[in-house]
Each structure stands twice: as C-alpha cells, then as structure tokens.
C-alpha cells in the first residue's frame, strides 16, 4: 500500500532545485512518486515503505546532503530564518555602497588615462604580455572579468567546489588564444572578426552577468522564478548535464577569444599582421598570459570568502559589482550595435 509523506525542505535556492530533488528522490527504489513545491518549500513523496516519517526524512536527507538540501518533518528554523532575513536586509544596505565604491574606482581608473600607456613599436610577445596586464584591468574587465566573477561567486555561494572547472576554463582560454593567434598569423587576413558578431556575444555575456548578479543579490530568492514545466525543464536538465562535462569550461574559455574587447581585437590584428604561425601564436599566448593573474584572482578569490563570516556581505557586494558591470556592458553593446545612442564616454 502506498503511503504519503510531506516534508519540509530547506536549501532550495533555485528553480532547477525542484528538478534536481525530484530526480534524486525518484532514484530511490522505495519512492514511487515525488513532488517538490518550491513556494511552500515542501516535498511530497509516495512510498510503499512502512518506516515512520522521521526515519524516511533522515534517510532521504542523507541522499540529498551532497547538494545541500535537508528534509525534515517539522518546519525548521522558522525563527532563525526571520532573523536571517532581517540580517540580510542590513547586509544589502552595506553591500550596495561597497559595490558602488568598487565600480566608481574601476570607472575612475578608466577615465584617468593611466591605462593609455604608450607602448610603441612592433608588437612582440613581451609587449603583448604587458598589454594583456593592462587589458585585464581595463574596460575589458567589465565583460570577461565580470563574467568570471559572477560565475565564480555563484559557484562558491552554491558551495560547489569547482576548482577543476576554472582551471579548465583558463587552460581553454590560454590554448585557444594561442592556437587561434597562430591561425590568424598563418592565414594572413582570411578571417575577419565581425564586429556585429562580437557585439551580440557581448550582449549575451552581459545578460548572463545581470542574471547571476541579481541571483547573488538574492533578488530571486524570495519569489523563486519557477519555469513552467515541459520544455523549460528539459532545457534545464540538458543544461545541468552539460554543466558537468569537461568540455564546457574549455569551450567557454575558447569563446572569450570572440568577446568584445578592444585590446583583444588589436592583438588579433597584430597576430594577423605578424605573418607567421609562430609569431601569431606567441603574441596571442603572451596576451592571454598577461590577462591571467587578474582573472585567476577573480576565479579563486570568492572561494576563500565563501566560508568566512563576511560571506553574505561579500556575495552581495559582488552582486552589486556584477550587476553594475553587466548594465555597463549591455548599454555599451547596444550602443555598439547602433541600437541606442551612446550614453557615456568612459
């Protein structure tokens, strides 16, 4: 005979959690059916098991632990949660000025002209390394760096230790820059890098940043956006599957070659003009190497904050920065495509 249990669930922070929890629960032999209600934060299961509710909850919690979900018979931590949300309210008011200070400093740096160092003469691997260093704190940081920061902060907030993915991302970036640089050097001028294409890619990146930024700010946490089932669930589960494949971060690293960044484009032209496979290869590789220190900091920095007591403040501030950079990149991208008038001159 089937028995029905209802449990309270904690740790659901995203729309895809519903799918993940249901998948895991349905994998258990004795669970015949499982349904998650994100709004009420409850899980209903049907089972032919005769254990009492506490035991079932403990058993299933063990299965869900790796993903940080907890099932319980009683609604947990109600008071503590109220406390936390009051605290979260305070945190956001601290995070906004902190994030804005970083944004203001970043744009002031762009405006100051310090970054327009004169590097004259021929582009050699040594100069392209220095240009890489400059590019990594320039307005290009708004796109590539913002994307890396939003991903790494999100990943550490979700408590997934994903060092491997970031190492793959950076390896993918280094090698694709080197190989594509070599190809450009060899091809001469066969490959034209299309402005419209890079601008559209930049807009896509800025949308990802805005989404993750709002997520870091916790704006989606209260009324979780639940996607209608059907096609979205399928897209989501496909997305979840490829998320864990090795080639995905490699591919994203590869994709950064085409993201709009004046410095990258200048280097691509330099590689084109270099006239040989080896020199194009070295120029782009040295450039990517120059951008590496800053990007490594952004990739692995958030993880070290994730377990400190300032973690909520850090993630919210990072959210403010990411949203700011995302907005900047979006408006700039739209202006670059000629859709809107340029709103600013940084």
């Amino acid at each position: 005979m089937l028995k029905k249990y209802t449990f309270h669930v904690t740790g659901t922070h995203c729309a895809s959690c519903k799918i993940l929890i249901e998948d895991i629960l349905k994998e258990q032999d004795f669970v015949k059916n499982a349904r998650v209600d994100l709004k009420k934060e409850i899980v209903e299961i049907e089972t032919d098991n005769n254990q009492d509710a506490e035991e079932v909850a403990t058993f299933l919690t063990n299965k869900l632990k790796p993903n940080n979900y907890i099932l319980s018979v009683e609604k947990r931590l109600i008071e503590k949660e109220n406390d936390l949300s009051a605290q979260a309210d305070d945190v956001i008011w601290k995070a906004i000025p902190i994030g804005l200070v970083f944004l203001a400093l970043f744009f002031l740096l762009q405006k100051s002209g310090i970054l327009n160092l004169g590097i004259g003469g021929k582009t050699t691997p040594a100069t392209s390394f220095i240009i890489g260093l400059i590019a990594s704190v320039s307005s290009c940081l708004a796109i590539v760096g913002g994307l890396v920061l939003s991903l790494s902060a999100k990943v550490s907030q979700d408590n997934v230790s994903d060092k491997k993915n970031f190492i793959l991302f950076h390896l993918g970036r280094l090698f694709s820059f080197a190989i594509l640089g070599g190809t450009l050097g060899l091809a001469g001028n066969a490959i034209g890098i299309n402005f419209t294409f890079t601008a559209i890619l930049g807009i896509a990146a800025s949308l990802v940043m805005l989404l993750l930024g709002f997520n870091l700010l916790g704006l989606f946490a209260k009324n979780k956006v639940t996607f209608p089932s059907g096609i979205f669930q399928k897209v989501f589960s496909v997305f979840r599957k490829i998320e864990h494949k090795t080639f995905t971060p490699l591919l994203v690293g590869f994709g950064t070659f085409f993201l709009p960044c004046g410095f990258t484009q200048s280097m691509q032209v330099a590689a084109l003009g270099s006239g040989s496979l080896l020199s194009g290869f070295l120029i782009m590789f040295a450039f990517a190497l120059g951008t590496l220190p800053m990007l490594l900091l952004l990739s692995f920095g958030p993880a070290s904050f994730a377990h400190s007591k300032h973690a909520p403040l850090f993630f919210k501030s990072a959210g403010v920065v990411v949203v700011g950079l995302g907005l900047f990149a979006l408006l700039a991208g739209l202006a670059g495509l000629g859709i809107i008038n340029p709103l600013f001159n940084v």
């Binding site: 305070d90 008011w93 601290k94 906004i96 000025p97 804005l100 200070v101 944004l103 203001a104 744009f107 002031l108 405006k111 002209g113 970054l115 327009n116 004169g118 590097i119 004259g120 003469g121 582009t123 240009i131 400059i134 590019a135 320039s138 307005s139 796109i143 890098i193 402005f195 890079t198 601008a199 930049g202 709009p260 960044c261 004046g262 410095f263 484009q265 200048s266 280097m267 691509q268 032209v269 330099a270 408006l331 700039a332 991208g333 739209l334 202006a335 670059g336 495509l337 000629g338 340029p342 709103l343 600013f344 001159n345 940084v346």
Partner: protein, 127 residues
C-alpha cells in the same frame, strides 16, 4: 552602521558615478581640428583611450574626409565603427586612416563609436 547613513552614502556614490559617466574626458571641442585644403575639408580625430575631440563642428556641403590618428592605440578606440558611411575597421596601432565622408548635409551629424560601444565621437555639420 546606521541604515540612514548607508543610504546617504549610496546616494552620494550614485551622484559620483553620474559625474564620472557624463563628464567629458577633456573638453577639446574648441580645438582646431578642421582644415580646408584644395577644396577638401579634413577633420582630424585622435583615437587613443577614447576619441578627441568628442564633438566637432564642421562645414556641410563640401567634400569631406575624416582622418583618424592612432598612436600605439590598443584599446577599444582602435575598433572604429561609423555606421552612416558603413565603415567598420580595426585601425592600425599607429598611423592615420583616411575615411571619405562624401559631401555631408547640414543637420545630419556623423557619429563614430568603438566596437564595444564605450567611446564615441560626433561631428556636427552646419552651414
């Protein structure tokens, strides 16, 4: 810290950001960057860490050429797009690029923007 204080700081920062964004890097619009030689009008724009002057005023109705000067320019301003004349090119790191603007009409400003959309310049044509 007090919430009110934090809100005041936030508003202050938003004002600062507004100033950073809208402020001209250097208002060189008075600079003499327009020259007429042999019946052809030449407008010179320097591209490095942005475009200067940001706004130029030129004459309409005469053949006009735009000269964009780069000097070890690696940033976005090297990736120039001028949609109204269908110009899209990554400029050489150092050098001068001549772009034919035809015979501009009065009241139709020309806008150049860098590929990423972070820097732009405008040329107004009048009689």
């Amino acid at each position: 810290m007090n919430k009110t204080v934090l809100i005041i700081i936030t508003l202050g920062l938003i004002v600062v950001m507004g100033i950073i964004f809208t402020g001209e890097s250097d208002s060189e619009s008075a600079q003499n960057n327009i020259e007429i030689r042999n019946g052809i009008q030449y407008i010179t724009i320097n591209a490095k860490g942005g475009y200067s002057p940001g706004i130029s005023a030129a004459k309409a109705g005469i053949p006009t050429k735009l000269i964009v000067k780069t000097e070890s320019t690696y940033d976005c301003s090297a990736a120039l797009v001028i949609r109204s004349v269908n110009f899209q090119k990554i400029l050489p790191q150092t050098g001068e690029t001549e772009i034919d603007l035809g015979i501009p009409k009065a009241g139709e400003p020309l806008q150049g923007i860098c590929g990423m959309g972070m820097y732009s310049f405008q040329i107004n044509f009048g009689n």
